[in-house]
Amino acid sequence: MKDQDDPEATGADARFAAALDAYSDLLRRAVSRYCPRDSRIQCADIEQEARVRLWRAFRDEREITDLASYIYRIAATATIDAVRRVKARREEHLGEEGECEENGPGLWVRPPKDPGQSPERQAEMGEVVRKVDEALALLPEESRRAVGLYLQGMTCHEAAELLGWTEPKARNIIYRARDAMRRTLSAWGIDYEVE
């Protein structure tokens, strides 16, 4: 524990507190962005647990060689765990919409984009996804992996990192593969607009 009268300790505590506040903000944004489906769930305890893990990392920083790497690892795993727990809790609370209140410091999971989607529409979308898979299967291996990551929402830069390519190579392959897939789907009666 640091002495409250020690200016060094006080300064460090202030920096730690500021860093934790910044982390909490990042955590909330991550959860709200990546857990938008189904019900609203209050997850202050999850945030608190992530803060505690990060606080311990800060407290032990004197024994750490690569502080940035260590903080990143702790924050990343704590955040991913938090997102996973929010999603798991969402499964448990599915159908209990309105049980949690919006006020207070808790986190809220966004409702689904189209909660009123009809079974017919869902079946139709399922068929579209099946045909997308078939169109992907017609592509060469490299193109299939690249456009698959694109469909998973990855940017060209992220896809390049995951595939071990340069960004220009990833962008080139994604664009070409996406056009090929679009032509195939168009021939099968599915048209989609490329942004």
């Binding site: 200016p7 060094e8 300064g11 460090a12 920096r15 730690f16 500021a18 860093a19 910044a22 982390y23 990042l26 991550a30 990546y34 800060f58 920083e61 004197r62 060689t65 502080l67 940035a68 790497s69 903080i71 990143y72 690892r73 924050a75 990343a76 795993t77 955040t79 991913i80 765990d81 997102v83 996973r84 999603k87 499964e91 984009k113 139709e124 979308m125 399922g126 579209v128 996804v129 997308v132 992996r145 698959g148 990551l149 694109y150 469909l151 998973q152 929402g153 990855m154 992220e158 990192e161 995951l162 595939l163 071990g164 009666g189 599915i190 048209d191 989609y192 607009e193 490329v194 942004e195």
Partner: protein, 283 residues
């Protein structure tokens, strides 16, 4: 059917969510974090990427982890920022030095350097020991040789000195008579003197044509090349009116025609009496 690109992506991702049976064996959080920080081998990266292709939740989580890297770097810089007083800084400097050397990598490096240095010293020590052993052996040899020489010197001091110059009996010494007729013969008919290899002396008896008058005589030996190789005065006739001279066989080398020139010596001049020619050969 018409769809926007975003709608297509949303549906694609929704059908690959965990809840929709997208995947049951997702990589653990640490693996995803390491993937986002490029801390995986190519094989592991490909394996997790293959999983992400079929799991939109892990794709989301990968992006979550990736978005934290810049924040982590800024936070690390912020936490490590020095805002201390001079005293505190001075105090922490020594701690910093200790921490510097307490780092495992530095310790390992220092240990490796020490090991290298000690190895080099051990090798040097072994080489020096080898040199010392060789030097000791050389010194022992020198001492032994010195002792042997000392013994030999002591023995030589005790024994009588015998050198070639010492008066020693000579055996089988050839004795050649030369008479005045030899002085007028041609070189081809000069008497032949055969010297054995072991002969060290040859004795010549020079007979003059008439009895010599008392007085001093001289003698010159002329080698085959015509040079005077030896000369003496004070030669005196014997009781039988002959002159005797013992010549070392070395003076009769090389083989060939030698001349002994006998002269009468007066106060002012030398008068040649006879020149004796001999033909020297070696066995």
């Amino acid at each position: 059917m018409k769809l926007s690109s975003d709608q297509l992506k949303d549906e694609y991702q929704r059908h690959r969510a965990r809840r929709s049976g997208g995947s049951a064996a997702c990589p653990d959080t640490d693996l995803l974090a390491r993937l986002a920080s490029h801390d995986l081998t190519a094989a592991d990266r490909d394996r997790v990427t293959d999983h992400i292709l079929g799991c939109s939740d892990c794709a989301d989580e990968y992006r979550v982890a990736r978005s934290l890297s810049s924040w982590a770097e800024e936070t690390a810089v912020s936490i490590a920022r020095p805002t201390r007083s001079t005293t505190a800084r001075a105090r922490s400097a020594s701690v910093g030095v200790l921490r510097f050397f307490a780092r495992p990598l530095l310790l390992q490096t220092a240990a490796a350097l020490l090991l290298l240095a000690s190895s080099a010293l051990i090798v040097e020590l072994l080489i020096l020991r080898g040199d010392l052993r060789r030097s000791q052996a050389t010194l022992d040899d020198a001492i032994s040789l010195s002792q042997r020489y000392e013994k030999q010197i002591a023995e030589l001091r005790r024994a009588p000195l015998q050198t070639p110059d010492a008066p020693m009996p000579q055996v089988n010494v050839p004795i050649i008579d030369l008479d005045p007729r030899d002085s007028v013969r041609g070189e081809t008919t000069a008497p032949v003197v055969v010297l054995a290899a072991s002969a060290t002396l040859a004795t010549f008896i020079l007979t003059p044509g008439e009895p010599p008058v008392p007085g001093e005589y001289g003698l010159e030996i002329v080698d085959p090349a015509g040079k005077i190789s030896w000369r003496t005065q004070g030669l005196a006739p014997g009781p039988d009116d002959t002159f005797t001279i013992a010549v070392p066989s070395q003076m009769l080398t090389p083989p060939g025609i030698y001349h002994f020139r006998l002269s009468r010596v007066s106060k002012t001049r030398m008068t040649l009496l006879h020149a004796y020619a001999i033909q020297v050969r070696r066995e």
